[in-house]
Amino acid sequence: MSGTSPIVVLDGVEKSFGAVRALTGVTLELRRGECLGLVGHNGAGKSTLMNVLSGNLSPDAGRITVDGADITGRLTPQNAVAHGVRCVYQELSLCPNLTVAENARISHPSIAGVGWRRAARELISGMLDQIFPGHGISTDHLVGDLSIARRQMVEIARAFAVTRAEAKVVILDEPTSSLDGVAAKKLLAYVRRYVDAGGTCVLISHLLGEIFDTSDRIAVMRDGGVVALDRAKAFDRNSLVAAMGSVAERAPGQARGGAAIRETASIVVQARPRIPETLSLAAHKGEVVGLAGLSGQGQTELLVQVFDHAAGAQVSGEVALVAGDRQTDGIFPLWSIAENISIGSLRRFLKGPFLDHVAARAFAEEWRKRIGIRTPDVGQPILSLSGGNQQKALFARALGSPAEIIVMDDPMRGVDVGTKQEVYGMIRDEAAKGRTFLWYTTEMDELTNCDHVYVFREGGIVADLPRAEMTEERVLHASFRADA
């Protein structure tokens, strides 16, 4: 399956951000016709390494060779594309104010002259059809109006599209984190087809299942270096997790007797999506309620409805939200990590009418330790963190707030396996203390942590499943067809 001739050779690549050594001499080669799986903790250096390869960051030391040409020091994003290196960014790189077709044109400058718009439309819609048949995206939509899942699809299709510039190496940084299971499967199947036709792909993911299914070789990164590299078949789940250095994965979380909570605890949230013919959702005090279904089926809208105490939702208690689309809904980019965490519970730091910044800082520092945000100092800018660590800061903001009800909008995007287990544990502990969680997730594994699951389809709730009756099959079944 995997060819042998290297197309990209990274030799001793180093990169530091101030005191943080993000890459400590990485040597790695990518071969033609292979998919390399890249795994590691949040902040292990995966995204940094790929940003170096795609020309966004220039390395402090080391050499980079693409297709036999040494391009160290001359690697800019434009130059990388010219050499056939494409990147699908975790934070997405589309312009929200332009249409899908116009965004396609930006990274394919050879589309020019009269009729460029039509050419761009054909290029991107052809690619979308190939990778995500039935995607339902119009090329004339503004990207800003698309859901995050669809934006992700556009970004992926754009990276694989071939014009005058070839796509020899495609880097996928957490491509499935904002896609639902069905779209993710389509993407991974396409990756195999692309690789089998001689392309090279780097797949970064925290979902070990898809790494095993899709990769020919797997590289494990830890603390800025590659600590293990071998054929995918040489690893199993446990050896991979051990190489990453995290605690071995526990069996999928066990929800406590959800039925018992339903019988005794009072209802704190009752909400009904704003469409006719839908079930309504109820959450009891101390319950973890899952919102399932394909992505973008009205789950986020319902969470915001609950958050706003809007019409259609009866909510008793304060609500805090953990954003999943962190660029749009979560992060304050000019602020430090500490400021981003403490904004959720400012009232706690009031001394008279004034805020006590020292107390707020101490509070953020305490959460840094509790949730393991990888930074030497919470006074650093939030943007100095990797995506997964930014997400941890958003968790800290909500869990640290005094809110009794916490709504989570697919919050585990880009969070590594070890941290996920810790956060699941925190959620269970907080629920046991009487907090109520509404948890939208597109990952089946996470639903097993819930006491009760509601499945969404086309804006409404189509199934109401207690934990005991919830199976992957039933959730999928409800996601696609009307549930009788």
Binding site: T328, G330, W335, I343, L350, F354, A403
Partner: protein, 312 residues
């Protein structure tokens, strides 16, 4: 030292110091104390309106209050006419000016919120209405301010204008409001990402309303004090405050894109703006040259300031 170099307000203060020294060198020090005293007085008026404008601009892209001049004029004329020179009416005049400012703010915010008009258009169009109201009210002669009030605006304490001292205290209060209150944190959060601020629990609309009302109220106060200072209200008294209020905010190191603000820079920038014009006058530059140089120097300071790294 590096911490000081990163302060966003540093460049405005350095600029002010540089033009003052240049003027003093040119005149061999003659009159430089008087220049400084005048700068403090006029700077105080700039800072009053810029303080409100700073909070508005910090709310994020598109947020700006263009009705400041009209609001100043309306508050000034109504207050002057009501007081009609009587000392006993001074408090009532002040209350009226502040109330008119607050009313202007409420109308501005209502246009923005209820009719969903972009702030720049809403405040511009409302300013025509306020300006016309001022013209209609002011028909007839120029009313002199009560003597006691006029004296207050020109009074000095140990050689320092009393009004400057008062406005320095206001600026300190503004600084505390920005950095140490839930309101201030909310303004800065909204300016970075309005949706994220809402979802983090910031009361976005309340804060926006309060900010527009505060800005207009400060404009009302400035109109009241300025018409007392200059011997009566005039219909064009607010004119130069439109662009100056924005320029002072931006030169002071506040981000014009929102989400990042500081108060000390307002004073530095206000002094800089006044001293710059004074310097060019002293050099005997003609009106045309003066305007060109003013523009170039402002660009220079902004470029220098944005070259430095920003910290919060």
């Amino acid at each position: 030292m590096t911490a000081l170099l990163r302060k966003p307000w540093l460049w405005a203060w350095l600029g002010a110091l540089a033009v003052w020294l240049a003027t003093a060198t040119f005149t061999h020090g003659r009159g430089s104390a008087e220049v400084l005293s005048a700068a403090l007085t006029f700077g105080a008026f700039f800072v009053i309106v810029a303080l409100g404008q700073m909070f508005v601009i910090t709310l994020g892209p598109g947020n700006v209050d263009l009705s400041i001049p009209a609001c100043m004029t309306l508050a000034g004329t109504v207050a002057m006419k009501t007081m009609d020179g009587a000392a006993s009416m001074i408090p009532l005049g002040l209350v009226l000016a502040l109330a008119i400012g607050a009313g202007v703010g409420v109308i501005n915010y209502a246009l923005i919120r209820l009719l969903r008009i972009p702030p720049i258009i809403a405040t511009l169009s409302s300013s025509f209405i306020f300006q016309s109201a001022a013209i209609w009210w002011n028909r007839g002669l120029r009313v002199k301010p009560p003597e006691a009030l006029a004296d207050f605006t020109t009074a000095k304490l140990a050689g320092v204008p009393v009004i400057a001292i008062a406005v320095v205290l206001m600026a300190v209060a503004g600084h505390v409001l920005l950095t140490r209150t839930i309101y201030g944190r909310g303004v800065v959060a909204i300016g970075q990402n309005m949706r994220a601020a809402h979802l983090a629990g910031v009361r976005v609309e309340r804060i926006r309303a309060a900010t527009y009302i505060m800005c207009a109220t400060l404009a009302g106060l400035c109109g009241y004090l300025l018409s007392a200072f200059s011997g009566g209200a005039a219909l064009n008294m607010g004119e130069e405050y439109l662009l100056s209020s924005i320029a002072v905010v931006v030169i002071g190191g506040t981000s014009v894109a929102g989400g990042f603000a500081n108060v000390p820079g307002l004073w530095g920038a206000a002094l800089f703006m006044f001293l710059l014009v004074t310097m060019l006058n002293t050099f005997g530059a003609g009106a045309g040259v003066r305007l060109v140089l003013t523009g170039l120097i402002i660009i220079g300071v902004i470029v220098a300031a944005s070259g430095g790294k920003r910290g919060t």
